[in-house]
C-alpha cells in the first residue's frame, strides 16, 4: 500500500510517499503505525483534526476500513480556488 503526503504533512515528514507492507485494518491503525516510526511522523499526526485522509483518491474518514485499499493520502484541509 502506498501512503502519500501533501503540503505541510509532506514537509513535516520529509518525503512525499511511503510504501507500507503491513495490513492495517483501518486508517486509524495506519496512523498509529506511522506515529510509532519516528518523531517527525508523530509530529505530523499529532492533531488529526488538522488532517484529511483519502483512500484510493476518494475523501474518507479516519475510522474507515483499509480493506482492499491501494493508496492512502494524508493532507491538510484543501485551499484551492
Amino acid at each position: 500500500m502506498d501512503v502519500l503526503y501533501f503540503a505541510w504533512v509532506r514537509e513535516r515528514i520529509g518525503h512525499p510517499k511511503d510504501r507500507i507492507d503491513t495490513n492495517p485494518a483501518t486508517v486509524m491503525d495506519l496512523v498509529e503505525e506511522l506515529r510509532g516510526r519516528e518523531d517527525r511522523y508523530a509530529a505530523a499526526f499529532a492533531d488529526l483534526s488538522a488532517l484529511r485522509v483519502a483512500i484510493d483518491q476518494e475523501l474518507s474518514d479516519f475510522d474507515a476500513s483499509l480493506d482492499g485499499a491501494r493508496e492512502v493520502a494524508f493532507f491538510p484541509p484543501m485551499t484551492g480556488g
Partner: protein, 147 residues
C-alpha cells in the same frame, strides 16, 4: 464539459470567448477567475500551488457532474493551475453556460464552493521572509452547507 489541471498559464479572454462561442441555444455564460492577490504588505512574491495528481481530476469531475445534475447547464469549464505563480497571475477559472442566468450563476458558485474545499489543492504564500501554507477558512467550509 472540459476540465484542465495544468502548470501553464491560461488566457482568460481566449477561454471565455471559446467557451461562449461553442454554445448553442444558451442565453447566459458566467465566468469566475481567481487571481493571486498581492496581500498589501507588499511582500507576497509568489504563491505555490500543490495538488494531488489523479485525485484532483477525479474530484473536479465529480464536482462538475454534480453541478450538471443540479442545474440545467449547456456546458462547464474548469481550469486550475498548479506550481509557482506570481501576484496578479490567474490561478483558475470556471465557466458555466445555461439558458437562463440563475442556473449559470448558481452552478458557478457551487463549483467554486466545492472546488475551494473539496478538490485537493494546497496554497503556499511565499514572501521575502517566509513561506506559509494557507489555512483553510471556516467560512469556506460553511459555504458548502447552503447546497
Amino acid at each position: 464539459m472540459e476540465i484542465r489541471v495544468q502548470d501553464a498559464p491560461f488566457d482568460l479572454g481566449l477561454e471565455a470567448t471559446r467557451f461562449a462561442e461553442r454554445q448553442t441555444g444558451m442565453g447566459a455564460v458566467v465566468t469566475f477567475t481567481g487571481i493571486v492577490r498581492d496581500l498589501g504588505e507588499g511582500d507576497l512574491h509568489a504563491m505555490e500551488i500543490e495538488h494531488y495528481p489523479g485525485m484532483t481530476e477525479k474530484a473536479l469531475e465529480e464536482i462538475a457532474r454534480e453541478a450538471a445534475n443540479r442545474w440545467s447547464l449547456g456546458d462547464i469549464l474548469i481550469i486550475h493551475r498548479h506550481g509557482v505563480l506570481r501576484a496578479q497571475d490567474m490561478i483558475m477559472m470556471v465557466a458555466t453556460a445555461s439558458k437562463h442566468r440563475v442556473d449559470a450563476f448558481q452552478a458557478a458558485e457551487f463549483l467554486m464552493d466545492f472546488l475551494k474545499s473539496r478538490a485537493p489543492f494546497w496554497k503556499k504564500e511565499i514572501s521575502a521572509e517566509k513561506a506559509d501554507w494557507v489555512a483553510a477558512r471556516d467560512e469556506d467550509e460553511d459555504a458548502l452547507k447552503r447546497w
